[in-house]
């Protein structure tokens, strides 16, 4: 858990996360569910709510929900029921949203996460399938205050994931949401694009004096569409509620809207004018039956889950928990690291390269992992070359820089630039002799007892080989050559390499 609030108050937070499922078609009709088309082009009589149309459930949406359920350890309902949530709004074509109410497809489950230096987890109440509404636009004045409606999104499938109020801080809430985001992208059931609204979050939050177990009146905060906004809104709301309680005031249950521009929440409605959605089972849809065979089919399609990847990275490559988490953050990144580690034959070294040089490039490239010019295989071979001391670490950086620029094979770059490390004793002996012959002064100093002259002479060997001399082999050759000149002193203990 992250550090508790400094105040004597404790926050109690539960999240409702709307995960937009990346099915090809909408949940109840054959229209494309793709984002970004011109307004009202992905529509048909069904998602426009024309008289007489009927919904037909998209089984791909169900399959995606099942994968999520299996990943979080939820209980899968053999029989779940779609219900109508009735309310009027211009972007809701039928005057009701088809959702699941009393009998959702998934119940229970748990999601663990890292928050700050520690770990936390939250239980899930449920997750259910529903259809998205369209989008309303309120253009600026000058157009007779018209409201425009785009129904491309009407009927796009959502999985609403509801957590128990197990989260205790804004940090934890953000970490939980990030974990859900990571998971649904791993599962390949959501594109995870927050700017496009692929993951939307409502937060329920209340505060109470630390040590109490009763729940105080909560606030539901709507319209949280980024990790940062979840964090900011919760911090703001926790402070607001704490202040009221500390001042001896009483809280009332309200629904509030997060205003990111102003950085504050505003009252949307109070409990008294809460809507009555008049839920009832949708008679147009049969109860959704999921048999064991279907569940097993989806289980077989599960990828390795983020936390499984993290554990394996720690065990197989001896990585620290923090590094494992970073490397497992995305499937693409994890795969990149693993390929590199395998090619390198050294997980730790590969990890260091990925964590420093590679991640930096991924983060600054708009295309992310896809934007890299070089392959993980190439990186692995570079790491191996360094490990095997065919090139020095310093040379490695140069090779990497070129590889990252051109996408070339590191072996080819090493060969082309003549960077192969010189470790042949005969050749090094020749170079050492050349260096000693050119610098009789320092040789004399060294033989006269001035140990530091050794380092100078090694430097000359490096210069003559353009840095390609294997440092250890060069030292060996140098010591041997100097010993041959006299019974001079040993090389200084712990002498540094070039």
């Amino acid at each position: 858990m992250s550090a508790p609030l400094a105040e004597p108050m404790e926050a109690v937070i539960g999240l409702e996360v709307h995960v937009q499922l990346k099915t090809r078609t909408k949940i109840f009709c054959a229209c494309s569910a793709a984002y970004g088309a011109p307004p009202n082009t992905h529509v048909c009589p069904v998602c426009l709510g024309h008289p007489g149309v009927l919904p037909v459930l998209n089984r791909e949406a169900v399959a995606f929900a099942l994968r999520f359920g299996l990943a979080v350890g939820a209980t899968i309902g053999e029989r779940s029921v779609f219900a109508r949530k009735n309310y009027f709004y211009p972007d809701l074509p039928k005057g009701y949203q088809i959702s699941q109410y009393e009998t959702p497809i998934l119940a229970g489950g748990r999601v663990s996460f890292r928050s700050g230096e520690g770990t936390g987890s939250a239980r899930l109440v449920r997750a259910h399938l529903e259809e998205d509404a369209g989008k309303s636009f309120h253009p600026e004045a000058g157009r007779e205050a018209a409201t425009l409606v785009d129904l491309n999104r009407s009927g796009v499938p959502l999985l609403e994931v509801v957590s128990e109020p197990d989260l205790r801080s804004a940090d934890d809430a953000q970490a939980f949401l990030e974990r859900i985001h990571q998971l649904v992208v791993y599962l390949d059931i959501c594109d995870g694009n927050l700017e496009e609204g692929s993951l939307r979050c409502d937060a329920n939050v209340s505060v109470r004096p630390r040590g109490e177990t009763a729940l105080y009146a909560k606030t539901e905060i709507k319209n949280l569409n980024s990790f940062r906004n979840v964090h900011r809104a919760l911090l703001w709301e926790i402070r607001r509620q704490s202040q009221i309680l500390e001042d001896g005031g009483a809280l009332v249950q309200t629904t509030r809207l997060w205003d990111a521009g102003e950085g504050r929440t505003r009252v949307m409605r109070t409990k008294e004018d809460a809507e009555d959605y008049r839920y009832f089972p949708d008679p147009d849809l049969l109860p959704l039956a999921v048999d064991a065979a279907w569940v097993e089919t989806e289980r077989a399609r599960l990828p390795e889950l983020p936390w499984q990847v993290e554990d394996r990275f720690r065990e197989d490559y001896g990585l620290g928990a923090g590094d494992a988490v970073i490397l497992a953050a995305t499937r693409a990144g994890a795969a990149f690291f693993e390929t590199a580690a395998r090619a390198a034959g050294d997980g730790k070294a590969a990890a260091n390269w990925v964590l420093s040089e590679v991640l930096h490039r991924v983060k600054t490239s708009p295309a992310g992992w896809d934007g890299l010019r070089f392959t993980a295989e190439h990186l692995g071979r570079l790491v191996r070359a360094i490990d095997e001391e065919r090139i020095s670490g310093k040379m490695g950086k140069a090779v990497f820089a070129e590889m990252a620029e051109t996408g070339g094979d590191p072996e080819a770059i090493i060969a082309a630039r003549g960077l192969v490390q010189v470790d042949d004793p005969d050749e090094l002996a020749r170079v050492v002799e050349e260096a000693l012959a050119a610098h009789p002064g320092p040789v004399g100093d060294y033989l006269g007892g001035k140990a530091s002259a050794f380092q100078f002479l090694i430097g000359q060997v490096m210069r003559l080989t353009q840095g390609r001399a294997n440092p250890r082999a060069a030292r060996d050759a140098m010591e041997k050559a100097l010993r041959a000149r006299s019974a001079g002193p040993e090389a200084p203990e712990g002498g540094t390499e070039s």
Partner: protein, 484 residues
């Protein structure tokens, strides 16, 4: 030139054989609509252009091209079934100018069978009513008597068939809306099993009860119509993926028929109606059936559950008529006001009443007492009917307690109007098929009907039993004066 045959089967046979053209059959139908519709108001819209196109396409066929079982048969369609580009109003101001962008599945199937769709028939607004008086476009009159209602809500279709304007018509039945007008107009009216005919394109009143069915003057025609529209449709999740049992009105009668005798003493059942049911029992027995007395659930129980469930679903189904995307919009300042103005102006009094009732029945605090309880009653009725059909193959009872009542007689008393459905809602609540069989006329010359119920998916039994009754008639079925 020989006269145009009157039954659907004979028409299709003549057109297929090339003895008649679809064009002449259509002209005959359009002429009789033209002559009679002013008085009857059975049709809200005659699609003469579209019908001519279909007839011409049939007549222009290649020599060896086979025609469907309804080749050239003019069919009328209740105006709550979507027809692409052709007005589909549900008899509501709300949809007065609405033209659907798509065809209902049954419309596609009828066209595939070679039927010629001549127009759209009147109904109680959104199918809410039992007399067709709740139409925003004026009531339909009973072809047997101009001061009588044709029943409802599919009154326009029933009247059109009874008056001989078309041999076949589609209707929909939520609580009796095919069978009761069939009874009032003296024609066959079939409610298929829930899930047997696709509802895709049927403007919903109460989705768990609505079912499309049809009207015909004769059984052969009814069988053809049913065969054309029945069967699984992937666009309707509640339609059953199962084969359709073939119908055969010629099949002899051997099974057991349960006579709901105690219902004949139910208050409000006219003696002529009770007599017709007893005569039908005798007719079935004479045809080889064993008739036994059975008890059915008390009709008032079903009526209460029906009106709670139907209005609850309707309150949600009709929410889409909000003035935003299609249909009527009454401009007003602000969104809420626009909704209110549009829905107040667009919906008639009965529709508004049912939306309010249904909204109430689903409201927090009342949900379980009304909607929840009605669901439990429905399950109980289903169970009861299952047990009834453990011991009998068919059930015989009245279709409506009375013959056609007078225009205006019940409009001021919604509850009296609701009781017109007393014997019909059971089938909808149980999801089973039912058929009105014409059974002669009363002393005033008004048609009387009897109703047969069968277990789910056994429409074939209904049509076979009706065949037995038809063959046992002492006189051919009469038709209203002036009707062809």
């Amino acid at each position: 030139m020989s006269a145009i045959p009157s039954g659907a089967a004979a028409i299709a046979e003549a057109v297929r054989a090339g003895r008649r053209s679809a064009g002449e059959i259509l002209e005959e139908s359009l002429r009789s609509i033209d002559r009679n519709n002013k008085n009857l108001n059975a049709f809200l819209h005659v699609d003469s252009e579209g019908a001519h196109r279909q007839a011409a396409a049939l007549d222009a066929r290649e020599k060896n091209q086979a025609l469907g079982p309804l080749a050239g048969v003019p069919v009328a369609v209740k105006d709550n079934i979507a027809t692409a580009g052709v007005p589909t109003t549900a008899a509501s101001r709300m949809l007065e100018t609405y033209r659907p962008p798509y065809d209902a599945t049954v419309i596609e199937r009828l066209r595939d069978a070679g039927a010629v769709l001549v127009g759209k028939t009147n109904l109680d607004e959104f199918s809410m009513g039992s007399s067709t008086e709740n139409s925003a476009f004026g009531p339909t009159r009973n072809p047997w008597h101009p001061e009588r209602v044709p029943g409802g809500s599919s009154g326009g279709s029933a009247a059109a068939v009874a008056a001989g304007l078309v041999p076949l018509a589609l209707g929909s039945d939520t609580g009796g809306s095919i069978r009761q007008p069939a009874s009032f107009c003296g024609v066959y009216g079939l409610l298929p099993t829930y899930g047997r005919v696709s509802r895709y394109g049927l403007i919903a009143f109460a989705s768990s009860l609505d079912q499309i069915g049809g009207f015909s003057r004769d059984l052969d025609g009814l069988g053809l119509l049913y065969a054309a529209i029945a069967g699984h449709d992937p666009r309707d999740s509640t339609s059953a993926p199962r084969p359709v049992e073939p119908v055969d009105p010629e099949r002899p009668m051997t099974g057991r028929v349960g006579l709901a005798a105690s219902l004949l003493d139910w208050p409000g059942v006219e003696p002529r109606v009770a007599a017709a049911v007893r005569e039908a029992a005798e007719g079935l027995a004479a045809g080889g059936a064993t008739v036994v007395n059975i008890e059915l659930p008390e009709p008032s129980t079903g009526i209460a559950a029906y009106y709670v469930l139907a209005t609850a679903e309707a309150s949600s189904n009709l929410a889409r008529y909000d003035g935003v995307r299609y249909g009527l919009r009454v401009a007003a300042e602000g969104l809420e006001s626009m909704y209110r103005a549009t829905r107040s102006a667009g919906f008639g009094a009965e529709v508004q009443r049912r939306i309010l009732l249904g909204t109430y029945a689903l409201s927090a605090g009342y949900h379980d007492a009304y909607y929840g309880r009605a669901q439990r009653v429905r399950r109980w009725i289903r169970g009861r009917m299952d047990r009834v059909f453990d011991s009998v193959d068919l059930v015989l009872l009245p279709t409506a307690p009375t013959t056609a009542f007078r225009l205006g007689e019940k409009t001021a008393d919604p509850l009296a109007m609701y009781l017109a459905d007393a014997f019909t809602v059971t089938a909808n609540l149980a999801g089973i098929p039912a058929l009105n069989v014409p059974a002669g006329t009363d002393a005033e010359g008004l048609p009387v009907g009897v109703q047969l119920l069968a277990p789910a998916w056994r429409e074939d039994r209904l049509l076979s039993a009706a065949g037995v009754l038809d063959r046992g008639r002492t006189a051919p079925l009469a038709w209203p004066e002036g009707a062809r």
